[in-house]
């Protein structure tokens, strides 16, 4: 027999840790999407510098959408904080060992790079703003006139996108008391999941908002500037296919990383093996196998493969499934991770 009776009964800790609810998964999910969109946007800029068809890359239209999404993520994070009025304290220090401190400072760079990247297309995509703030149009012209600057901006997008994507996993990875998270694979897994969610989000908009001239109003212009590709004709079909191909690659890598994560946990200490059973056969198994793996990865892989081979028409369904799976991955990992504990030696 091994029985522990404790008189401790602190809210959010007992009977099991439950400090993070929906806010942190939402924040990690939106951060992952923005990371994915930044990498895709950066790659698109580099390809356009090479002379590829500008209409082919929806992802260069997404910096403003990324800016909006990351702000929604920050609102979710703020809602989670229990001492909200002191949030500015993260910017009065730099704590080198704290992923959250790194994330807070990297976020400032992300804001800057997203806004600069938005300038790239802003005058055409949001004419209302360009007419009222001619400075923006001039800045955009100046940016486009300097290929070196555009290249630097493209690489900044890629580098920061990778950094943010990894950060969303490493944030959990460093908690010594939560064995489910104690695997460095969390970083690349969340990055690739973010890339796949980013590709799905961009792909979704190509299907929902086909290309057309930018609306001249304020609000319509703003919304269109976030997502809508330009031009009187819809972009070539190769665009959608390119995103689908990229997404298939991301999903396949994500599947491999999930397998590696489980292998890593099951071959580690008893605490980590017990933590892994939370998601493989425990209370989170249905969400993990059913939503994250089957609906979020395997089904979209199948549907997108069939789309590419022209057996079924293009629909929004695979992209929606990828987004649902991306959120579910974060939700499962955040919740199951909090339920995982270091086992006492005598309990084995």
């Amino acid at each position: 027999m091994f029985e522990i009776i404790s008189t401790r009964d602190n809210p959010l800790i007992d009977p099991r840790l439950a400090v993070w609810s929906w806010e942190i998964p939402v924040y990690l999910f939106l951060g992952g999407i923005v990371a994915g969109m930044m990498v895709l946007g950066g790659v698109a800029m580099l390809r356009m510098l090479r002379g590829d068809d500008t209409r082919s890359f929806h992802s260069v239209h997404t910096p403003l959408a990324g800016f909006a999404l990351i702000n929604i993520g920050m609102i979710a994070l703020l809602l989670d904080l229990s001492h909200k009025l002191y949030v500015w304290r993260v910017y009065t220090t730099f704590q080198v060992a704290s992923p959250m401190s790194w994330g807070s400072w990297v976020l400032l760079l992300v804001y800057g790079v997203l806004l600069l990247s938005a300038l790239y297309r802003l005058p055409e995509s949001w004419p209302w703003l360009a007419r009222r703030v001619p400075l923006l149009a001039r800045l955009s012209d100046a940016l486009l006139a300097r290929r070196g600057l555009v290249r630097a901006l493209a690489w900044a997008n890629v580098a920061l996108g990778v950094a943010v994507g990894i950060y969303t996993g490493i944030l959990l990875n460093t908690m010594v008391a939560r064995p489910l998270w104690n695997s460095a694979i969390m970083g690349p897994l969340f990055l690739v999941s973010g890339l796949s969610a980013g590709a799905a989000a961009v792909h979704l908009t190509t299907l929902v908002f086909p290309g057309r001239p930018a609306p001249h109003g304020m609000l319509g212009g703003a919304l269109a500037a976030m997502w809508q590709p330009l031009g009187p004709e819809p972009p070539p079909k190769a665009t959608a296919d390119g995103l689908v191909r990229a997404d298939i690659a991301f999903l396949a890598v994500e599947l491999i990383l999930i397998g590696l994560l489980l292998a890593n946990l099951y071959t580690s200490s008893a605490s980590q093996a017990a933590a892994a059973t939370l998601i493989t056969s425990g209370p989170y198994a249905l969400a993990f196998w059913g939503v994250v793996v089957a609906a979020g990865i395997l089904l979209p892989l199948l549907l997108q493969g069939l789309q590419l081979s022209h057996r079924i028409p293009h629909t929004v369904i695979p992209a929606l499934l990828v987004l649902v799976g991306g959120f579910a991955l974060r939700w499962v990992m955040v919740q199951a991770g909090q339920a995982s504990v270091l086992l006492q030696a005598a309990a084995n």
Partner: protein, 179 residues
């Protein structure tokens, strides 16, 4: 500079919870929360049962994961006594430290910041023992400087068998349980 630690004799502890009540009173711990608590651990099968009763709290670890994950430096190691403390007006309430602590020693105070055992530094600086230690009716708790070879805590650690909680977490906890 001292490095404070605590030694608790589980052969003397009867689990009366005086330490818990003393802490709540001394530190004005809000209703429904506690900075220290009693754990009874039963092992074995009849007739070879063993029972260990422990008074648990923040371990003021030498390698505190709550400090390394804190984004603002609110959780920090104080110079005097090398204890782990929280500066309430630097804490943003992100709760990373609560997640990182393997001992469940931290909680969100109703005012929003994260709170935990301070080793009663306000008392120790005046030369007193922490409240829990000072009220223990069986005198099973000892508080002192782990860096002083002549201290009572070091004498006990030299002469008695002891264990710490979850040493495999690598936190190097500074509360020792005599067995």
């Amino acid at each position: 500079m001292p490095r404070f630690g605590m030694v608790i004799d589980t052969r003397k502890c009867v689990g009366c919870m005086d330490c818990v009540v003393a802490c709540k009173t001394e530190n004005d711990v809000p209703d429904g929360y506690c900075r220290d608590w009693i754990v009874s651990e039963l092992r074995g099968g009849f007739p070879t049962l063993t029972l260990e009763i422990r008074s648990e709290r923040c371990n003021h670890c030498d390698n505190p994961p709550c400090v390394s994950c804190c984004p603002t430096g609110a959780s920090h190691v104080e110079d005097f006594g090398r204890t782990v403390q929280v500066t309430a007006n630097k804490c943003i309430g992100c709760k990373a430290c609560i997640t990182a602590c393997p001992y469940g020693a931290r909680y969100v105070h109703p005012e929003g910041y994260v709170d935990k055992c301070t080793f009663c530094m306000h008392r120790v600086k005046e030369g007193l023992d922490p409240a829990c230690v000072s009220v223990c009716p069986t005198h099973c708790m000892y508080f002192g400087d782990l860096d002083d070879p002549g201290s009572r805590v070091n004498e006990l650690l030299r002469t008695r068998r002891w264990h710490t909680l979850l040493p495999e977490a690598g936190t190097r906890p500074r509360i020792y349980y005599l067995t």
